[in-house]
Amino acid sequence: MTKVLTDARSIRIKGRSFLAVVLTPEAPLDDWIVQLDDLAARSAGFFLGRPVVLDVADLDIDRKGLTELIEQLGERNVRIMGIEGARPSQVGPNMPPLMKGGRPAADVDVTEEEAPKVDLRNAPEPEADRPKAAAETRAVTQSIVINEPIRSGQSVIFPEGDVTVIGSVASGAEVIAGGSIHIYGTLRGRAMAGSLGNAQARIFCTKLEAELIAIDGIYKMAEDMDQDFNGRPVQLWLEGDIIMAETLI
């Protein structure tokens, strides 16, 4: 097999939409879990290999409760890929990412009526695939703020908007944002902005020592970066297929 690459260094990371199954747990959760087990018993493997989104908009639950719920689902081999309708205070860096902008699709029929409410929706669409008008009427950009350092081995994934980190991003840690990334600390790991296809996204950090940076799928490894920027406050943006950098004073 031959591979032709115009530039060995530019890889595009593309957006793609999948149909996700949305689970909407209802209080009391213990009863709901029993119903879920019942459903699983009747249609074994229903959740296997399907992207599952957890809708907690109507659920009164705190971060600890949500962690437990995700664990309980995990024990039943239901892997949650994203959480919908949660407030930032309910989610932590080790949880599946918050998702927004899902569009309803037809309900999935799971044979019997006692089954918990399960419906199918579109997972968030990549920016680029949306009609222009829709993008323009979109409400304010979503953002999350993380008040602690991102440690090695942790990843923060926030496809729907900007990520601000008050602290450093360690070597071996990563931040992936649909929008821009702001790091008030040293960027030692990876930062990938505009990850669903957004060439306007930027990366800002107080001190640049990154292992990898990417904007809209164009990436640069540490060794490809201009050493003049090393250790300095920098912003990075995209012009065409080239990542530009500039020091901030």
Partner: protein, 271 residues
Amino acid sequence: MGKVIVVTSGKGGVGKTTSTAALGAALAQRGEKVAVVDFDVGLRNLDLVMGAERRVVYDIVNVIQGDAKLPQALIRDKRLENLFLLPASQTRDKDALTPEGVEIVMNDLKRYFDWIVCDSPAGIERGATLAMRHADVAVVVTNPEVSSVRDSDRIIGLLDAKTAKAERGERIEKHLLLTRYDAVRAERGDMLKVEDVLDILSIPLIGIIPESTDVLRASNLGSPVTLADARSAPAMAYFDAVRRLTGEPLPITIPGEKRGIFGKIFGRKAA
């Protein structure tokens, strides 16, 4: 109720077992009632460093499985009557430790002791996560070297996510103990600078333990270095670390340098 300290690092060979013994003994030398607990099931070492290997009858796995009562498994130190060791099992693997069993043992220990110092195995798997599970305080043992620092960073992330305290929404107290610090190699620039390690890990520093043959000599004698030679440089660094651990704002000097780095370290925001 006693306080639980976990001595942890991610990486092996950095000085966890040495530090568990030295910190445990140093606390006991101040008159506190202390238990040191070996969580390194299958690769136990703490009994050797404490000089108790010939007195091990029962171990933590026996207690968890109900074959022995806690007081039967605890070994009293020959030098200090208020220092005890709960050994690990050498013949079992770490799956013999169950979360429920560990919780019961830790709750019992907290009733009898002022301090429980847990020696964590290397790695980020079950043994290490069980050792940190019930800790109130973590001592993160790090060598001034990149792989050790990165592993410590990973462990700090786990401390903030996987401990019982973190799951209750509380913060586990984390302290950095820089060990095997070689002033000569630091001078040559062969090691990470103290400041760089602090900058990366951003947790408060409780001590810098110099690389020293006194440590080897003590462990060959089967004695924590603070008991073997209380005047030696590593012993004094461990005594000071204990004072900082208990809240004393003692200035820190880098071995081989006269300048104190007190201001710099304590001015930093602790994560």
